[in-house]
Symmetry: C2
Subunit: 272 residues, 2 copies
Protein backbone atom coordinates (compact mmCIF):
# COMPACT_ATOMS: atom_id res chain seq x y z
CA UNK A 1 0.00 0.00 0.00
CA UNK A 2 1.00 3.66 -0.37
CA UNK A 3 3.04 5.68 2.10
CA UNK A 4 1.21 6.99 5.18
CA UNK A 5 1.86 10.70 5.87
CA UNK A 6 0.43 13.38 8.11
CA UNK A 7 -2.21 14.02 5.45
CA UNK A 8 -3.52 10.44 5.35
CA UNK A 9 -7.14 10.04 6.55
CA UNK A 10 -7.55 7.20 9.00
CA UNK A 11 -10.22 4.48 9.27
CA UNK A 12 -10.69 1.50 11.57
CA UNK A 13 -12.53 -1.75 12.05
CA UNK A 14 -13.69 -2.48 15.60
CA UNK A 15 -13.83 -6.18 16.44
CA UNK A 16 -13.13 -8.82 19.08
CA UNK A 17 -11.43 -11.09 18.13
CA UNK A 18 -9.53 -9.06 15.54
CA UNK A 19 -7.03 -11.46 13.93
CA UNK A 20 -9.43 -12.94 11.37
CA UNK A 21 -10.79 -9.66 9.92
CA UNK A 22 -10.27 -9.21 6.19
CA UNK A 23 -11.83 -5.75 5.85
CA UNK A 24 -8.54 -3.76 6.16
CA UNK A 25 -7.10 -5.66 3.19
CA UNK A 26 -10.26 -5.08 1.14
CA UNK A 27 -10.71 -1.41 2.07
CA UNK A 28 -7.02 -0.52 1.63
CA UNK A 29 -7.02 -2.17 -1.79
CA UNK A 30 -10.16 -0.18 -2.63
CA UNK A 31 -8.56 3.09 -1.47
CA UNK A 32 -5.46 2.31 -3.54
CA UNK A 33 -7.60 1.62 -6.62
CA UNK A 34 -9.31 4.98 -6.09
CA UNK A 35 -5.97 6.74 -5.44
CA UNK A 36 -7.47 7.93 -2.14
CA UNK A 37 -5.00 8.86 0.63
CA UNK A 38 -6.59 6.83 3.43
CA UNK A 39 -5.68 3.80 5.54
CA UNK A 40 -7.75 1.33 7.55
CA UNK A 41 -6.24 -0.31 10.62
CA UNK A 42 -7.64 -3.08 12.83
CA UNK A 43 -8.81 -1.85 16.25
CA UNK A 44 -9.11 -4.62 18.80
CA UNK A 45 -11.65 -3.62 21.45
CA UNK A 46 -13.48 -5.79 23.97
CA UNK A 47 -17.20 -5.41 24.68
CA UNK A 48 -16.67 -3.63 27.98
CA UNK A 49 -14.48 -0.97 26.39
CA UNK A 50 -16.47 -0.12 23.26
CA UNK A 51 -17.92 3.13 24.63
CA UNK A 52 -14.50 4.35 25.84
CA UNK A 53 -12.82 3.62 22.52
CA UNK A 54 -15.64 5.18 20.50
CA UNK A 55 -15.49 8.29 22.70
CA UNK A 56 -11.79 8.52 21.90
CA UNK A 57 -12.29 7.97 18.15
CA UNK A 58 -14.94 10.69 18.14
CA UNK A 59 -12.22 13.18 19.15
CA UNK A 60 -9.71 12.11 16.49
CA UNK A 61 -9.97 14.84 13.86
CA UNK A 62 -8.39 12.97 10.94
CA UNK A 63 -10.56 9.88 11.41
CA UNK A 64 -13.31 9.64 8.79
CA UNK A 65 -15.10 6.52 9.91
CA UNK A 66 -14.97 2.89 10.96
CA UNK A 67 -16.51 -0.49 10.33
CA UNK A 68 -18.13 -2.31 13.26
CA UNK A 69 -18.34 -6.06 13.52
CA UNK A 70 -18.78 -8.89 16.05
CA UNK A 71 -19.61 -8.35 18.90
CA UNK A 72 -20.24 -4.60 18.66
CA UNK A 73 -22.96 -4.16 16.01
CA UNK A 74 -25.88 -3.91 18.46
CA UNK A 75 -24.14 -1.78 21.09
CA UNK A 76 -22.98 0.66 18.40
CA UNK A 77 -26.56 1.84 17.74
CA UNK A 78 -26.74 3.76 21.02
CA UNK A 79 -23.23 5.21 20.62
CA UNK A 80 -24.05 7.01 17.36
CA UNK A 81 -25.48 10.51 17.22
CA UNK A 82 -27.63 9.53 14.26
CA UNK A 83 -28.50 6.17 12.72
CA UNK A 84 -30.39 5.26 9.56
CA UNK A 85 -33.95 4.04 9.93
CA UNK A 86 -32.99 0.56 8.74
CA UNK A 87 -30.14 0.33 11.26
CA UNK A 88 -32.45 1.43 14.06
CA UNK A 89 -35.15 -1.05 13.09
CA UNK A 90 -32.67 -3.89 12.56
CA UNK A 91 -31.00 -2.89 15.82
CA UNK A 92 -27.48 -3.01 14.41
CA UNK A 93 -24.88 -0.66 12.93
CA UNK A 94 -22.00 -2.02 10.87
CA UNK A 95 -20.44 1.16 9.54
CA UNK A 96 -19.95 4.67 10.97
CA UNK A 97 -19.03 8.01 9.43
CA UNK A 98 -17.46 10.67 11.63
CA UNK A 99 -18.34 14.11 10.33
CA UNK A 100 -15.98 17.06 10.81
CA UNK A 101 -17.96 18.23 13.86
CA UNK A 102 -17.21 14.95 15.64
CA UNK A 103 -20.72 13.52 15.23
CA UNK A 104 -21.07 9.81 14.48
CA UNK A 105 -23.50 8.64 11.79
CA UNK A 106 -24.24 4.90 11.69
CA UNK A 107 -25.93 2.61 9.23
CA UNK A 108 -26.19 -1.08 8.36
CA UNK A 109 -24.99 -2.00 4.89
CA UNK A 110 -25.37 -5.82 4.95
CA UNK A 111 -28.62 -5.58 3.01
CA UNK A 112 -27.34 -2.91 0.61
CA UNK A 113 -24.28 -5.08 0.05
CA UNK A 114 -26.51 -8.03 -0.86
CA UNK A 115 -28.49 -5.93 -3.35
CA UNK A 116 -25.30 -4.43 -4.84
CA UNK A 117 -23.92 -7.99 -5.16
CA UNK A 118 -27.04 -9.05 -7.11
CA UNK A 119 -26.68 -6.06 -9.42
CA UNK A 120 -22.97 -6.76 -9.89
CA UNK A 121 -24.00 -10.17 -11.24
CA UNK A 122 -26.61 -8.62 -13.52
CA UNK A 123 -29.65 -9.36 -11.37
CA UNK A 124 -31.83 -6.26 -10.86
CA UNK A 125 -34.24 -6.85 -7.99
CA UNK A 126 -36.50 -3.87 -8.81
CA UNK A 127 -39.86 -5.22 -9.97
CA UNK A 128 -39.15 -8.84 -9.00
CA UNK A 129 -41.27 -10.83 -6.58
CA UNK A 130 -38.96 -11.97 -3.79
CA UNK A 131 -39.04 -14.81 -1.24
CA UNK A 132 -36.76 -14.60 1.79
CA UNK A 133 -36.06 -17.46 4.22
CA UNK A 134 -35.18 -16.12 7.66
CA UNK A 135 -36.00 -13.15 9.89
CA UNK A 136 -32.78 -12.77 11.94
CA UNK A 137 -30.22 -9.99 11.76
CA UNK A 138 -28.84 -10.68 8.29
CA UNK A 139 -32.26 -11.54 6.82
CA UNK A 140 -33.75 -8.35 8.32
CA UNK A 141 -31.07 -6.21 6.69
CA UNK A 142 -31.69 -7.92 3.34
CA UNK A 143 -35.46 -7.53 3.65
CA UNK A 144 -35.16 -3.77 4.21
CA UNK A 145 -32.74 -3.44 1.31
CA UNK A 146 -34.94 -5.45 -1.07
CA UNK A 147 -37.94 -3.24 -0.30
CA UNK A 148 -35.80 -0.13 -0.78
CA UNK A 149 -34.54 -1.58 -4.07
CA UNK A 150 -38.15 -1.83 -5.26
CA UNK A 151 -39.14 -5.50 -5.32
CA UNK A 152 -42.78 -5.85 -6.44
CA UNK A 153 -43.57 -7.87 -3.30
CA UNK A 154 -41.65 -9.60 -0.52
CA UNK A 155 -42.57 -12.83 1.25
CA UNK A 156 -40.76 -13.57 4.51
CA UNK A 157 -40.72 -17.16 5.74
CA UNK A 158 -39.40 -18.14 9.14
CA UNK A 159 -39.72 -21.24 11.27
CA UNK A 160 -41.14 -18.98 13.99
CA UNK A 161 -43.67 -17.09 11.90
CA UNK A 162 -44.19 -14.46 14.63
CA UNK A 163 -40.65 -13.23 13.96
CA UNK A 164 -41.43 -12.94 10.24
CA UNK A 165 -44.56 -10.95 11.08
CA UNK A 166 -42.62 -8.63 13.39
CA UNK A 167 -40.04 -8.00 10.66
CA UNK A 168 -42.83 -7.20 8.20
CA UNK A 169 -44.38 -4.76 10.67
CA UNK A 170 -41.05 -3.01 11.18
CA UNK A 171 -40.55 -2.67 7.43
CA UNK A 172 -44.12 -1.42 7.02
CA UNK A 173 -43.49 1.27 9.63
CA UNK A 174 -41.10 2.98 7.22
CA UNK A 175 -42.37 1.61 3.88
CA UNK A 176 -46.17 1.72 4.33
CA UNK A 177 -46.89 1.00 0.64
CA UNK A 178 -44.73 -2.14 0.37
CA UNK A 179 -46.46 -5.47 -0.44
CA UNK A 180 -45.33 -7.80 2.33
CA UNK A 181 -46.47 -11.29 3.34
CA UNK A 182 -45.57 -14.04 5.74
CA UNK A 183 -44.77 -17.20 3.76
CA UNK A 184 -44.38 -20.95 4.21
CA UNK A 185 -41.44 -23.20 3.33
CA UNK A 186 -42.69 -23.31 -0.27
CA UNK A 187 -41.00 -20.63 -2.43
CA UNK A 188 -43.29 -21.19 -5.43
CA UNK A 189 -44.56 -18.09 -7.22
CA UNK A 190 -41.50 -15.85 -6.60
CA UNK A 191 -38.88 -14.83 -9.14
CA UNK A 192 -36.10 -14.30 -6.63
CA UNK A 193 -35.56 -16.82 -3.79
CA UNK A 194 -33.07 -15.97 -1.05
CA UNK A 195 -31.68 -17.91 1.88
CA UNK A 196 -31.17 -15.42 4.72
CA UNK A 197 -30.64 -18.08 7.42
CA UNK A 198 -27.43 -19.81 8.48
CA UNK A 199 -28.76 -23.20 7.30
CA UNK A 200 -26.17 -24.64 4.93
CA UNK A 201 -23.18 -23.38 6.88
CA UNK A 202 -22.63 -26.70 8.66
CA UNK A 203 -22.65 -30.16 7.05
CA UNK A 204 -25.93 -31.94 7.74
CA UNK A 205 -27.98 -28.71 8.11
CA UNK A 206 -31.58 -28.98 6.97
CA UNK A 207 -32.47 -27.06 3.79
CA UNK A 208 -33.85 -23.57 4.57
CA UNK A 209 -36.83 -24.04 2.22
CA UNK A 210 -38.60 -26.67 0.08
CA UNK A 211 -35.97 -27.04 -2.66
CA UNK A 212 -38.08 -29.66 -4.51
CA UNK A 213 -40.57 -26.88 -5.34
CA UNK A 214 -37.95 -24.74 -7.13
CA UNK A 215 -38.49 -24.09 -10.85
CA UNK A 216 -35.96 -23.27 -13.57
CA UNK A 217 -37.39 -19.75 -13.97
CA UNK A 218 -36.33 -18.79 -10.42
CA UNK A 219 -33.09 -17.15 -9.32
CA UNK A 220 -31.82 -18.68 -6.05
CA UNK A 221 -29.43 -16.62 -3.92
CA UNK A 222 -27.34 -17.35 -0.80
CA UNK A 223 -25.82 -15.23 1.94
CA UNK A 224 -23.55 -18.08 3.09
CA UNK A 225 -19.99 -17.73 1.81
CA UNK A 226 -18.46 -20.96 3.14
CA UNK A 227 -19.18 -23.38 1.48
CA UNK A 228 -19.58 -21.38 -1.74
CA UNK A 229 -22.06 -23.92 -3.10
CA UNK A 230 -24.45 -24.81 -0.31
CA UNK A 231 -26.83 -27.81 -0.54
CA UNK A 232 -29.59 -25.32 -1.44
CA UNK A 233 -27.57 -23.95 -4.38
CA UNK A 234 -26.70 -27.50 -5.52
CA UNK A 235 -30.38 -28.45 -5.48
CA UNK A 236 -31.31 -25.24 -7.30
CA UNK A 237 -28.68 -25.84 -9.95
CA UNK A 238 -29.95 -29.40 -10.44
CA UNK A 239 -33.43 -28.02 -11.06
CA UNK A 240 -32.13 -25.57 -13.68
CA UNK A 241 -32.29 -22.38 -11.61
CA UNK A 242 -29.81 -19.55 -11.94
CA UNK A 243 -27.82 -19.44 -8.72
CA UNK A 244 -26.17 -16.51 -6.90
CA UNK A 245 -23.32 -17.08 -4.42
CA UNK A 246 -22.84 -15.41 -1.05
CA UNK A 247 -19.45 -13.82 -1.83
CA UNK A 248 -20.59 -10.77 -3.86
CA UNK A 249 -22.55 -9.50 -0.82
CA UNK A 250 -19.27 -8.83 1.00
CA UNK A 251 -17.18 -7.64 -1.94
CA UNK A 252 -19.90 -5.22 -3.03
CA UNK A 253 -20.26 -3.98 0.51
CA UNK A 254 -16.61 -2.85 0.66
CA UNK A 255 -17.20 -0.08 -1.87
CA UNK A 256 -20.40 0.98 -0.07
CA UNK A 257 -18.63 1.00 3.29
CA UNK A 258 -15.75 3.05 1.89
CA UNK A 259 -18.16 5.58 0.42
CA UNK A 260 -20.25 5.77 3.62
CA UNK A 261 -17.22 6.22 5.89
CA UNK A 262 -16.02 9.03 3.65
CA UNK A 263 -19.42 10.74 3.94
CA UNK A 264 -20.20 10.16 0.28
CA UNK A 265 -23.40 8.14 0.68
CA UNK A 266 -26.51 9.96 1.70
CA UNK A 267 -27.82 9.11 5.12
CA UNK A 268 -31.05 7.74 3.70
CA UNK A 269 -34.16 7.37 5.83
CA UNK A 270 -32.67 8.89 8.94
CA UNK A 271 -34.61 7.94 12.04
CA UNK A 272 -35.92 10.78 14.19
CA UNK B 1 4.55 -0.58 2.88
CA UNK B 2 3.33 -4.11 3.61
CA UNK B 3 -0.29 -5.23 3.76
CA UNK B 4 -2.23 -4.43 6.94
CA UNK B 5 -4.13 -7.42 8.36
CA UNK B 6 -5.95 -8.30 11.55
CA UNK B 7 -2.60 -9.33 13.03
CA UNK B 8 -0.87 -5.99 12.44
CA UNK B 9 0.11 -4.12 15.62
CA UNK B 10 -0.90 -0.47 15.56
CA UNK B 11 0.99 2.68 16.60
CA UNK B 12 0.15 6.38 16.44
CA UNK B 13 1.58 9.85 16.63
CA UNK B 14 -0.52 12.40 18.53
CA UNK B 15 -0.12 15.95 17.26
CA UNK B 16 -1.91 19.20 16.42
CA UNK B 17 -1.39 20.22 13.68
CA UNK B 18 -0.78 16.81 12.12
CA UNK B 19 -0.11 17.43 8.41
CA UNK B 20 3.61 18.18 8.77
CA UNK B 21 4.60 15.12 10.85
CA UNK B 22 7.25 12.89 9.29
CA UNK B 23 7.37 10.23 12.02
CA UNK B 24 4.90 7.79 10.36
CA UNK B 25 7.11 7.65 7.26
CA UNK B 26 10.23 7.09 9.36
CA UNK B 27 8.72 4.52 11.72
CA UNK B 28 6.94 2.57 8.97
CA UNK B 29 10.18 2.41 6.99
CA UNK B 30 11.93 1.20 10.14
CA UNK B 31 9.27 -1.49 10.75
CA UNK B 32 9.59 -2.62 7.13
CA UNK B 33 13.38 -2.86 7.45
CA UNK B 34 12.92 -5.01 10.55
CA UNK B 35 10.19 -7.11 8.87
CA UNK B 36 7.94 -6.20 11.81
CA UNK B 37 4.17 -6.38 11.22
CA UNK B 38 3.27 -2.97 12.60
CA UNK B 39 1.90 0.31 11.25
CA UNK B 40 1.99 3.89 12.52
CA UNK B 41 -0.85 6.26 11.65
CA UNK B 42 -1.18 10.01 12.31
CA UNK B 43 -3.71 10.83 15.07
CA UNK B 44 -4.88 14.44 14.97
CA UNK B 45 -6.01 15.48 18.43
CA UNK B 46 -6.55 18.95 19.86
CA UNK B 47 -5.32 19.97 23.30
CA UNK B 48 -8.77 19.81 24.88
CA UNK B 49 -9.33 16.24 23.74
CA UNK B 50 -5.99 14.65 24.61
CA UNK B 51 -7.25 12.91 27.76
CA UNK B 52 -10.30 11.48 25.96
CA UNK B 53 -8.26 10.14 23.07
CA UNK B 54 -5.60 8.67 25.35
CA UNK B 55 -8.31 6.99 27.44
CA UNK B 56 -9.62 5.40 24.25
CA UNK B 57 -6.16 4.32 23.06
CA UNK B 58 -5.52 2.73 26.43
CA UNK B 59 -8.43 0.33 25.72
CA UNK B 60 -7.24 -0.65 22.23
CA UNK B 61 -5.72 -4.09 22.73
CA UNK B 62 -3.63 -4.26 19.56
CA UNK B 63 -2.07 -0.83 20.09
CA UNK B 64 1.55 -1.08 21.28
CA UNK B 65 2.39 2.58 21.71
CA UNK B 66 2.46 6.09 20.35
CA UNK B 67 4.68 9.09 19.82
CA UNK B 68 3.62 12.41 21.38
CA UNK B 69 4.53 15.75 19.94
CA UNK B 70 3.47 19.42 19.91
CA UNK B 71 1.39 20.51 21.86
CA UNK B 72 0.91 17.39 23.99
CA UNK B 73 4.33 16.55 25.47
CA UNK B 74 3.77 18.23 28.85
CA UNK B 75 0.16 17.15 29.32
CA UNK B 76 1.09 13.55 28.52
CA UNK B 77 3.14 13.22 31.74
CA UNK B 78 0.04 13.13 33.95
CA UNK B 79 -1.81 10.75 31.60
CA UNK B 80 0.77 7.97 31.91
CA UNK B 81 0.67 5.32 34.63
CA UNK B 82 4.45 5.39 34.84
CA UNK B 83 7.06 7.79 33.48
CA UNK B 84 10.83 7.65 33.46
CA UNK B 85 12.70 9.83 35.94
CA UNK B 86 14.10 11.98 33.14
CA UNK B 87 10.65 12.52 31.63
CA UNK B 88 9.26 13.51 35.01
CA UNK B 89 12.10 15.92 35.73
CA UNK B 90 12.02 17.40 32.22
CA UNK B 91 8.24 17.56 32.51
CA UNK B 92 7.62 16.06 29.09
CA UNK B 93 6.87 12.69 27.50
CA UNK B 94 7.46 12.12 23.80
CA UNK B 95 6.88 8.39 23.49
CA UNK B 96 4.52 5.94 25.21
CA UNK B 97 4.41 2.16 25.42
CA UNK B 98 1.08 0.48 26.15
CA UNK B 99 1.65 -2.80 27.95
CA UNK B 100 -0.75 -5.73 27.54
CA UNK B 101 -2.54 -4.79 30.78
CA UNK B 102 -3.48 -1.39 29.32
CA UNK B 103 -0.96 0.58 31.39
CA UNK B 104 0.83 3.48 29.73
CA UNK B 105 4.59 3.92 30.20
CA UNK B 106 6.06 7.23 29.08
CA UNK B 107 9.53 8.51 28.50
CA UNK B 108 11.38 11.32 26.74
CA UNK B 109 13.85 10.22 24.09
CA UNK B 110 14.98 13.60 22.67
CA UNK B 111 18.17 13.43 24.72
CA UNK B 112 18.78 9.73 24.04
CA UNK B 113 18.25 10.48 20.36
CA UNK B 114 20.89 13.20 20.50
CA UNK B 115 23.40 10.87 22.16
CA UNK B 116 22.61 8.04 19.72
CA UNK B 117 23.09 10.51 16.86
CA UNK B 118 26.54 11.46 18.19
CA UNK B 119 27.50 7.80 18.43
CA UNK B 120 26.17 7.11 14.94
CA UNK B 121 28.67 9.69 13.72
CA UNK B 122 31.47 8.11 15.73
CA UNK B 123 31.46 10.57 18.64
CA UNK B 124 31.35 8.77 22.00
CA UNK B 125 30.37 11.25 24.73
CA UNK B 126 31.43 9.00 27.63
CA UNK B 127 34.44 10.58 29.32
CA UNK B 128 34.22 13.88 27.43
CA UNK B 129 33.82 17.24 29.10
CA UNK B 130 30.67 18.82 27.71
CA UNK B 131 29.34 22.37 27.38
CA UNK B 132 25.63 22.89 26.72
CA UNK B 133 24.03 26.19 25.72
CA UNK B 134 20.40 26.33 26.87
CA UNK B 135 18.23 25.05 29.70
CA UNK B 136 14.82 24.72 28.01
CA UNK B 137 12.94 21.54 27.14
CA UNK B 138 15.25 20.18 24.45
CA UNK B 139 18.41 21.24 26.32
CA UNK B 140 17.14 19.62 29.53
CA UNK B 141 16.56 16.31 27.74
CA UNK B 142 20.07 16.47 26.25
CA UNK B 143 21.63 17.35 29.61
CA UNK B 144 20.05 14.31 31.28
CA UNK B 145 21.10 12.04 28.42
CA UNK B 146 24.70 13.33 28.42
CA UNK B 147 25.03 12.65 32.14
CA UNK B 148 23.54 9.19 31.69
CA UNK B 149 25.96 8.59 28.81
CA UNK B 150 28.83 9.30 31.19
CA UNK B 151 30.33 12.68 30.28
CA UNK B 152 33.20 13.52 32.67
CA UNK B 153 31.53 16.86 33.50
CA UNK B 154 28.74 19.01 32.15
CA UNK B 155 28.58 22.79 32.06
CA UNK B 156 25.19 24.36 31.42
CA UNK B 157 25.07 27.95 30.18
CA UNK B 158 21.89 29.90 29.88
CA UNK B 159 21.07 33.59 29.48
CA UNK B 160 19.00 33.28 32.66
CA UNK B 161 21.53 31.47 34.82
CA UNK B 162 18.86 30.61 37.42
CA UNK B 163 17.29 28.26 34.88
CA UNK B 164 20.65 26.56 34.33
CA UNK B 165 21.04 26.14 38.07
CA UNK B 166 17.56 24.64 38.39
CA UNK B 167 18.33 22.15 35.62
CA UNK B 168 21.56 21.18 37.36
CA UNK B 169 19.71 20.66 40.64
CA UNK B 170 17.13 18.43 38.93
CA UNK B 171 19.87 16.34 37.33
CA UNK B 172 21.70 16.11 40.64
CA UNK B 173 18.56 14.80 42.33
CA UNK B 174 18.86 11.59 40.32
CA UNK B 175 22.59 11.64 39.51
CA UNK B 176 24.14 12.84 42.79
CA UNK B 177 27.72 12.02 41.72
CA UNK B 178 27.66 13.95 38.44
CA UNK B 179 30.05 16.89 38.00
CA UNK B 180 27.80 19.80 37.01
CA UNK B 181 28.45 23.52 36.70
CA UNK B 182 26.74 26.68 35.53
CA UNK B 183 28.78 28.25 32.74
CA UNK B 184 29.16 31.51 30.86
CA UNK B 185 28.96 32.19 27.11
CA UNK B 186 32.56 31.04 26.78
CA UNK B 187 32.80 27.31 25.87
CA UNK B 188 36.56 27.12 26.37
CA UNK B 189 37.89 24.08 28.20
CA UNK B 190 35.27 21.58 26.96
CA UNK B 191 35.75 18.82 24.39
CA UNK B 192 32.13 18.70 23.28
CA UNK B 193 30.18 21.96 22.71
CA UNK B 194 26.43 21.75 22.07
CA UNK B 195 23.81 24.30 21.11
CA UNK B 196 20.59 23.28 22.86
CA UNK B 197 18.79 26.59 22.18
CA UNK B 198 16.72 27.62 19.16
CA UNK B 199 19.23 30.36 18.26
CA UNK B 200 20.22 29.79 14.65
CA UNK B 201 16.77 28.73 13.49
CA UNK B 202 15.91 32.20 12.16
CA UNK B 203 18.13 34.43 10.01
CA UNK B 204 19.68 37.16 12.12
CA UNK B 205 19.60 35.18 15.38
CA UNK B 206 22.45 35.91 17.78
CA UNK B 207 25.01 33.14 18.22
CA UNK B 208 24.17 30.91 21.23
CA UNK B 209 27.75 31.12 22.58
CA UNK B 210 31.08 32.90 22.04
CA UNK B 211 32.06 31.25 18.77
CA UNK B 212 35.31 33.23 18.59
CA UNK B 213 36.57 31.22 21.60
CA UNK B 214 36.17 27.87 19.80
CA UNK B 215 39.31 25.83 19.18
CA UNK B 216 40.05 23.19 16.53
CA UNK B 217 40.21 20.42 19.17
CA UNK B 218 36.52 20.91 20.02
CA UNK B 219 33.54 19.08 18.55
CA UNK B 220 30.60 21.47 18.00
CA UNK B 221 27.10 19.99 17.78
CA UNK B 222 23.67 21.37 16.88
CA UNK B 223 20.08 20.35 17.60
CA UNK B 224 18.73 22.65 14.86
CA UNK B 225 17.89 20.77 11.68
CA UNK B 226 16.83 23.67 9.44
CA UNK B 227 19.18 25.20 8.32
CA UNK B 228 21.51 22.19 8.38
CA UNK B 229 24.55 24.44 8.74
CA UNK B 230 23.72 27.13 11.28
CA UNK B 231 25.88 30.25 11.76
CA UNK B 232 27.38 28.50 14.81
CA UNK B 233 28.43 25.48 12.74
CA UNK B 234 29.82 27.74 10.01
CA UNK B 235 31.90 29.61 12.57
CA UNK B 236 33.07 26.34 14.15
CA UNK B 237 34.05 24.92 10.77
CA UNK B 238 35.99 28.09 9.99
CA UNK B 239 37.92 27.63 13.22
CA UNK B 240 38.82 24.02 12.33
CA UNK B 241 36.36 22.28 14.68
CA UNK B 242 34.65 19.02 13.85
CA UNK B 243 30.93 19.78 13.46
CA UNK B 244 27.86 17.62 14.13
CA UNK B 245 24.51 18.40 12.45
CA UNK B 246 21.06 18.33 14.03
CA UNK B 247 19.57 15.68 11.73
CA UNK B 248 21.05 12.51 13.33
CA UNK B 249 19.22 13.35 16.60
CA UNK B 250 15.89 12.66 14.89
CA UNK B 251 16.92 9.74 12.69
CA UNK B 252 18.58 7.96 15.62
CA UNK B 253 15.55 8.60 17.76
CA UNK B 254 13.25 6.70 15.36
CA UNK B 255 14.88 3.37 16.18
CA UNK B 256 14.77 4.17 19.92
CA UNK B 257 11.10 5.19 19.70
CA UNK B 258 10.20 2.03 17.79
CA UNK B 259 11.96 -0.13 20.38
CA UNK B 260 10.37 1.73 23.31
CA UNK B 261 6.85 1.55 21.87
CA UNK B 262 7.28 -2.17 21.36
CA UNK B 263 8.32 -2.58 25.01
CA UNK B 264 11.88 -3.52 24.08
CA UNK B 265 13.74 -0.75 25.89
CA UNK B 266 14.03 -0.96 29.61
CA UNK B 267 12.13 1.68 31.51
CA UNK B 268 15.30 3.12 32.99
CA UNK B 269 15.26 5.23 36.13
CA UNK B 270 11.56 4.95 36.77
CA UNK B 271 10.31 7.70 39.03
CA UNK B 272 8.37 6.68 42.14
Amino acid sequence: MHQITGNTRIFGILADPIQHVKTPQGINQHFAAEAFDGVMVPIHVGEGELATVVQGLRAVRNLSGFVVTVPHKSAMVALCDQVSAAARLIGAVNVVHRSADGRLHGTMLDGEGFVAGLRQQGIEPAGLSAYLAGAGGAASAIAFALVRAGVSRLTVANRTSDKALQLIERIRSIHPAAVLNVGTEDPSGHELVINGTSLGLRPGDALPLQADKLQASQVVAEIIMQPAETPLLSAAKARGCRIHFGAPMLSSQLALMAAFMRGKLEQLEVAP
